[in-house]
């Protein structure tokens, strides 16, 4: 992999992990399940 691509990967993954992780956590915490 080119150095430029490695740097992009290293920048993307922490950001993606944070953004998606936060979205997932919020979706789980805020959900109100319909009554069975």
């Amino acid at each position: 992999m080119r150095r430029a691509h490695r740097l992009v990967h290293r920048a993307i993954w922490p950001f993606l992990a944070l953004a998606v992780g936060l979205g997932f956590a919020l979706a789980l915490a805020l959900r109100t399940l319909p009554h069975a």
Binding site: M1, R2, R3, H5, R6, V8, H9, R10, I12, W13, P14, L16, A17, A19, V20, G21, G23, F24, L26, A27, L28, L30, R31, T32, L33, P34, A36
Partner: protein
């Protein structure tokens, strides 16, 4: 590598890979449907369509998780290299499974004679300002479009047409697609089903992919600083015998670009570590039939000058090497692609 356009250059390894993949997908979807049918048999056609929709959706998510894990796993351990060999077919099949998932969604509303309701969900503009209640199907559609873009350009024709740099940049959009899929499921089915399996699947899959990528990136950080230089600006690689025969030692120029120093018997040569095809790590390959062979897709280059053997025309940058006081050293300034630069070890140094 190919001198002419061919749709797929089939060989036994690719056929086996694809056969195993198709069998696994069929088994998974069949098994999922069989278990779901037993646990909660659908009462009508829409119920059955919903079951198949979920089966294909879960399968597509798991496949995308695996596809994204192959790259970093192959960096962490060479035992995963066989998975990387035909990753394109894996990716294209993932898109196909995801497209079938979308088709079942369309079919579900078609059978209910309620397609306008499906359309209304995409055009429910006030809902786009919400978090819970956000039109999650839009996220799924966006991810599907990205996967379509990936699948339709998964061929060396596009790689050459767009250039490897642009093609690779384009294909990095798959990370955005994966994030969209995770949130699509989190804001979709996870809002309606209480089973812990859904959040576990999402957290486990996404967590694994992130961990593999961060771990592989962390392992490579040290080499990015570049190897230490000798007094006259060369890089000491090691004694000739420390370079495996038919293999390489990888070092890094001050800018971080990798250099692969190969040994073929008593011949030492240095090439860029980047394969001309898809920037695969040449230094992790072997010398086969006298040529450096990329471990990803088998592209070959002569050690003497970095040129692909005829009739192929690819050329790689080479680097000057020398043996000084019994130590192999490489000049980190690249020579023009195709420049002969390999040397024979002086007698007594091996």
């Amino acid at each position: 590598m190919s001198a002419e356009y061919r749709a797929v250059q089939w060989n036994r390894a690719k056929l086996v890979y694809d056969a195993v993949l198709l069998a696994a997908v069929t088994l998974f979807i069949g098994g999922f449907a069989a278990i779901a049918w037993r646990v909660e048999p659908p009462q009508n056609l829409p119920g059955a369509l919903d079951l198949w929709l979920r089966a294909f959706g879960v399968c597509a998510f798991l496949m995308l998780t695996m596809v994204l894990s192959i790259g970093p796993l192959a960096r962490l351990s060479p035992r995963f290299l066989p998975l990387l060999y035909n990753r394109r077919h894996f990716g294209v099949l993932t898109f196909c499974v995801a497209a079938i998932h979308a088709w079942f969604l369309f079919d579900y509303y078609w059978v209910l004679n309620d397609l306008p309701k499906l359309g209304a969900q995409f055009a429910n503009w006030p809902a786009y300002a919400k978090f819970i209640g956000f039109p999650f199907k839009t996220l799924g559609l966006a991810a599907l479009l990205i996967l379509f873009l990936m699948a339709s350009t998964s061929h060396d024709f596009w790689l050459n047409f767009l250039s490897p740099r642009i093609w690779k940049g384009l294909h990095m959009a798959v990370y955005l697609a994966y994030g969209l899929v995770v949130i699509h499921v989190a804001l979709g089915i996870m809002q309606y089903e209480s089973t812990p399996l859904i959040p576990l699947m999402l957290a486990g899959g996404f967590g694994a992919v992130v961990t593999f990528h961060l771990w592989a990136g962390w392992r490579e950080r040290g080499l990015d600083r570049g190897a230490a230089l000798t007094g006259d600006g060369w890089i000491a690689v090691g004694r000739p015998r420390e370079i495996p025969d038919k293999g390489a030692r990888i070092t890094a120029a001050p800018g971080g670009e990798r250099i692969a120093v190969f040994r073929d018997g008593n011949i030492i040569g240095a090439l860029t570590n980047l394969c001309a095809h898809q920037n695969g790590p040449l230094g992790e390959g072997r010398i086969v039939d006298g040529c450096v062979t990329c471990p990803w897709h088998g592209f070959q280059y002569r050690l003497a000058d970095g040129c692909a053997p005829p009739p192929y025309t690819e050329k790689l940058a080479t680097y000057r090497v020398r043996v000084k006081r019994g130590v192999v050293e490489v000049d980190p300034r690249p020579l023009p692609p195709g420049t002969p630069a390999a040397i024979a070890c002086p007698s007594g140094t091996l």
